[in-house]
Amino acid sequence: MATTAASTGPSRWQYLDKIRRNPGPFNQDSDVGDEALAAQDKAKILVIGAGGLGCEILKDLALSRFKDIHVIDMDTIDISNLNRQFLFRQDDVGKFKAEVAAAFVEKRVKGTKITAHNGRIQDFNEDFYMQFQIVVCGLDSIEARRWINAMLVNMVDMEDQDSLKPLIDGGTEGFKGQTRVIFPTLTPCIECQLDLYTPRAAVPLCTLATIPRQPEHCIEWAHIIAWEEQKPFPNLDKDDPEHITWLYQKASARAQEFGISGVTYSLTQGVVKNIIPAIASTNAIIAASCCNEALKIATTAAPALGFEESYMMYSGDDSIYTSTFKYDKKPDCTVCGEVAKPLQVDPKMTLKELLDSFALKADLQLKKPSIRAEGKTLYMQFPPSIEEQTRPNLEKTLQQDLGLDVGHEVVVTDPAFPTLTFRFILSFV
């Protein structure tokens, strides 16, 4: 490619600068100087996922003048990624996605620094996430979304305004996609919107076991029932062709028995691995929308999604349709509904004394409280067996015997308030 001045020099950003400098109906700052324009260079932005969406997001962010980008992905490149994950080439198969994507974009967009992290989001702690101004997700897993959402909601600290990290979440499935912007604790979080996910289409077990009607039923039968009965290999590895072949043969035999056609090796792979065809153009549209939001939030050049309307859905199934709407916060959301409040206690207090104090507190008045900490059941009133198991804890002291410490979260529930959970962060007198 011929390198022109426009693609390397400062004039590269002349059009972006115009958008930011020219006052308009939405432009919130009418006198944007050079200093303000350059401030974007210091913004540190985190991209989670370097797959179909991630490749697009990284490219778009770099071309939107974000210069300090970090990217996390635990996966390595598979040959089946190459049709749409355009930062990867055949020689890259087997290498880490984050690493290859970062190197590619750095090479093409001079002056951009991309730091790759080959790992799981769960491997990083609060201090790591605290260094970014904005987090953009291009994930394919609900579990990972819930994890990063809970992390960012819990990080919000009144004493530190930098602790509020806008979360931009992109997602695609075939021809459909969505972009949402979350301001943790202020606007509805991912947990508030959990009901929006379409549940994975599951077929009743008895249909699989007795009256399969479709090739998918035969494959699921081989996967769920025949595998468990016969255990041809100790553990099912969905990426091992030998294992998939075993399932394919079992499914074919069953299909023949019931006169069903259409069981193929690739269908077997698709059903077992729950593969939904990914479409490059959907990824491109959603990634562009995510980066647009990131740019608007970072520069205040125009109002971003978030406070009024927070959810943009896109459908390309039947011509093109998009709709942007407002989703409400769930008052009883388990993650952001009841933000943990500080609770000052005497570390030498017994658990029973603590629970009794909940009954007396005017704003709680809990008569039958159950209480847990992370990975630890302190005392549960119900069911009876766990009550008996945890009863000895009542006489124990909070710090020395039960190991509670400053900064630990405890959660209190009471049957009198079935929709409420009370969350506290401990501090000691």
Binding site: M155, D195, A209, E228, T300, F307, P383, D405, R423, I425
Partner: protein, 186 residues
């Protein structure tokens, strides 16, 4: 960003709360939800829970002793396992005994709609437990996992009842031997 922050300050003031302190040891969303679910369980006199580790509430065993119906007198246990995806994903439930039941196969897999195709995050552990209890009171021949048991039930209820009794005392039916599940009442 400054504008967003000032909104946050105002919201916080309205709630009249103080700043949060240290930042460690957060409870996961799945644990929170299970704690809530457990405190709302209604077990009655026929069921109880067993926690191998009280600190791990995502794994437990449910014991059912049906007090009426064809399975009266038996004691059945089911393992419950919730992962960090709960309640997006349903709990995984398995019968620990090899039993003769139209809707439970010999590996312990259970055919109950809300454990699979009809699960929704608004459902809870109580709904699942009620469903299991119902399976023992009203075994269902139209959704069979154990085809032979379902056919027996369809063709002759009396024959089915006899087979259930045989299986529950550890006998075998058509060459398949079943676990003894009778318990002695004190």
């Amino acid at each position: 960003m400054l504008k967003i922050w000032s909104m946050k300050k105002e919201q916080q003031k309205a709630e009249n709360a103080e700043g949060a302190g240290g930042k460690k040891k957060k409870i996961t969303a799945a644990q929170l939800r299970v704690q809530k679910d457990l405190s709302e369980l209604s077990l009655g006199s026929t069921m109880r829970t067993i926690f191998a580790d009280a600190d791990d509430i995502l794994n437990f065993v449910l014991e059912i002793k049906p007090d009426e119906g064809v399975y009266h007198g038996g004691l059945f246990t089911f393992t419950f396992n919730m992962d960090q995806n709960y309640p997006h994903e349903p709990p995984k439930v398995r019968c620990q005994q090899k039993i003769y039941h139209p809707n439970i196969d010999l590996e312990g897999k259970v055919c109950l709609n809300i454990l699979r195709e009809d699960w929704k995050p608004v459902l809870n552990l109580n709904a699942v437990i009620v469903g299991l209890q119902f399976l023992f009171l009203e075994p269902n021949a139209s959704d069979p996992l154990n085809k032979e048991a379902a056919e027996d039930l369809r063709s002759s209820r009396e024959n089915f009842r006899r087979n259930v009794r045989t299986s529950m005392t550890g006998g075998s039916i058509r060459g398949t031997s079943y676990d003894r599940v009778m318990f002695n009442r004190a």
